[in-house]
């Protein structure tokens, strides 16, 4: 039995904001189970103290000066938006706190 259960897939899909049907959950659980089994070999690769490499070419302290550069116009900023109103991006109501 894989550690990728349908419930875990549902949870991960929700964290990823992807709607999934029950059927997709089953398929994904199977596929991801196989993949995870295969990639889990990395856990055996590392013995002892090894530093993590998050950046292939080591660099540090790359900064930009605090200088204002031109922004987009409001029209251009909104040009790709599916919906906008009053100079702003319009979205459906938010289900949240309170």
């Amino acid at each position: 039995m894989s550690e990728i259960t349908p419930d875990l897939v549902r949870h991960l899909a929700s964290l990823s904001r992807i709607l999934v049907t029950d059927e997709e959950v089953e398929t994904l659980a199977g596929e991801l189970g196989l993949i995870v089994e295969s990639v889990a070999t990395v856990t055996q690769a590392v013995k002892g103290d090894v530093l993590a490499t998050s950046h292939p070419i080591p660099m540090a302290n790359v900064f930009r000066e605090d200088v204002v550069e031109p922004s987009l116009t409001q029209e251009s900023a909104l040009s790709g938006a599916p919906d906008s109103a009053e100079g702003r991006f319009r979205v459906a109501a938010i289900l949240d706190e309170e």
């Binding site: 929700s14 964290l15 900064f63 204002v68 900023a77 702003r88 979205v91 938010i94 309170e98």
Partner: protein, 499 residues
């Protein structure tokens, strides 16, 4: 949602130990945003300070604002923190429409500053040492406006509008370690702490520090445990406490609310709560759950920040004095009564008075100018007294002329008016307006004689002992001399004539 049942405050403190923790977000006042060149300005038309980077267009990449890093290091140093030899940005992943990339570029396990402390003096003189766990850099989110529904609130809204002008504004989040032992003073301590942070970042000029604009925002963690219990109680995190009064009231409310629940055998839910300033209560948000798995990982589009010791020391050398320490020093040096000093502090005139004293004026005289005549003028002109067109050096100069007897108080006020009117330095105003104490007694005596001639009975009355009769003549003489004489000297001369 209505207010919940509360335990009386004194009773709550008697039964439980209060533990608080504070997270303060400070918006930096850099010219440009944290990761792009858009202007960091409050109040512009929506979505006009935005670019592909801060609205998260596909393909865009961040680039770190050096000044924001410098300000963050400075804040860390001002809070007595150590500066990390290697700091890194991480992504905090969660979906929310005000977050353009649906992750916040922040710092996680390698903050730029850590392990600091700050002494907070309460109004009753008790001093608490608050330990700082960390200060880290991150970016602000955009602004949501909820349309429809009852009150423009999120609940019941039909839709929401997003403005990303604020998205990417640099923030420093300062997190305390748990603060124990404040007892009944916990709410006051929380407010005093936020006040102190605000004062420090303002004195450093790294933030505009205006709470009403959200430049300084506070989340307050509160938990209770029975006295003597080692294990910490479950905490709540109250968000949206954006004035000093709110901080105090929200902490107090949570203490009373939690105490009531615990005393009745209930349990506290670990959750985010929202403070409602208008009605003075907190309400529950989403409970903390797996949904808060932020999946932090090192931001691969940015490289580590490794400030050199030289850079850190350069920033340290430029730090202003801690405001609390400075206040203590100045109060002692100036010898003001406590009320007088508080008046200066509350009017935000420490800088002005200090500079005026430094330019040679006596502390009391400097104080009187700024909290008196100048404050009055500012008020009538509807500007901040700090913004009046007069410098501390000019004020000191005018005071010096009074001290040497070259100006009367009334003339000095005229000079101030002239300086404010843009007539130049005090000396130039005096010259232009012909303001000079007449020191040639000849002209003055002639004026007195003329006045006495018109009121022949005055000298007689004086000789009879009715010295106050001189007043009428003094007034006439002052008028004749257009105020450019010292009233005391006129009186002296009249009394001499009566002998």
């Amino acid at each position: 949602m209505a207010k919940e049942q509360l335990m009386a405050y004194e009773q709550a403190i008697e039964q439980f130990e209060v533990v608080i923790g504070l997270e303060v977000h400070v918006e930096l006042n850099t010219k440009s945003k944290m990761f792009c060149g858009c202007a960091n300005i409050f109040g512009n038309e929506p979505n006009t300070n935005v670019c592909p980077i801060c609205i998260g267009l596909p393909g865009s990449l961040p680039a770190v604002n050096k000044k924001a890093v410098e300000s963050s290091i400075a804040i860390g140093l001002a809070l007595g923190c150590q500066i990390a030899p290697t700091g890194r940005f991480s992504r905090k992943n969660y979906f929310y429409p005000d977050l353009a990339k649906n992750f916040q570029t922040s710092q996680y396990d390698e903050p730029i500053a850590f392990e600091g402390k700050i002494n907070i003096e309460l109004e009753d003189g008790v001093v608490f040492e608050v330990l700082i766990e960390r200060a880290h850099m991150e970016e602000d989110a955009g602004k949501l406006t909820h349309i429809g529904g009852a009150t423009g609130r999120i609940q019941g809204a039909e839709y929401s509008l997003v403005d990303y002008n604020r998205a990417g504004v640099p923030l420093v989040e300062i997190v305390t370690k748990p603060v124990y032992g404040a007892g009944a003073r916990a709410p006051g301590l929380a407010a005093a702490y936020v006040h102190a942070i605000r004062e420090i970042v303002k004195s450093m000029n790294v933030s505009d520090a205006r709470m009403e604009r959200g430049n300084v925002r506070c989340d307050a963690n509160v938990s209770l445990r029975p006295h003597g219990q080692a294990k910490l109680g479950t905490r709540t995190e109250t968000k949206n406490v954006n004035s000093l009064r709110s901080v105090e009231n929200a902490v107090r409310y949570e203490i009373q609310r939690q105490a009531h629940i615990l005393a009745n055998g209930g349990t506290i839910t670990q959750e985010t709560r929202h403070w409602h300033e208008d009605r003075g209560y907190t309400s529950a948000g989403r409970p903390k759950s797996d949904a808060d798995d932020y999946r932090y990982f090192p931001e691969p589009d940015l490289v580590p920040v490794q400030p050199s010791l030289a850079w850190i020391e350069e920033i340290r050398a430029a730090l202003p004095e801690n405001p609390a320490i400075r206040r203590k020093r100045l109060m002692e040096a100036w010898g003001f009564a406590e009320l007088e000093f508080r008046d200066v502090v509350n009017s935000d005139l420490l800088d002005q008075v200090e500079a005026t004293v430094a330019a040679g004026a006596a502390p009391q005289a400097a104080r009187k100018w700024w909290t008196g005549e100048l404050a009055r003028l500012a008020n009538s002109q509807e500007v901040a007294v700090q913004d009046l067109a007069i410098t501390p050096a000019q004020v000191a100069k005018i005071q010096q002329l009074i001290d040497s007897g070259e100006l009367t108080d009334r003339m000095a006020r005229d000079v101030v008016a002239g300086v404010l009117a843009g007539e130049g330095e005090p000396e130039a105003v005096i010259e232009k307006r012909g303001l000079k104490v007449v020191s040639d007694d000849g002209a003055l005596i002639a004026a007195i004689d003329e006045a006495l001639a018109k009121q022949p009975d005055v000298l007689e009355k004086i000789r009879e002992g009715k010295v106050q009769a001189a007043g009428a003549v003094i007034g006439a003489v002052m008028q004749a001399m257009r105020g450019q004489v010292d009233a005391a000297r006129v009186r002296e001369l009249i009394l001499e004539r009566a002998k």
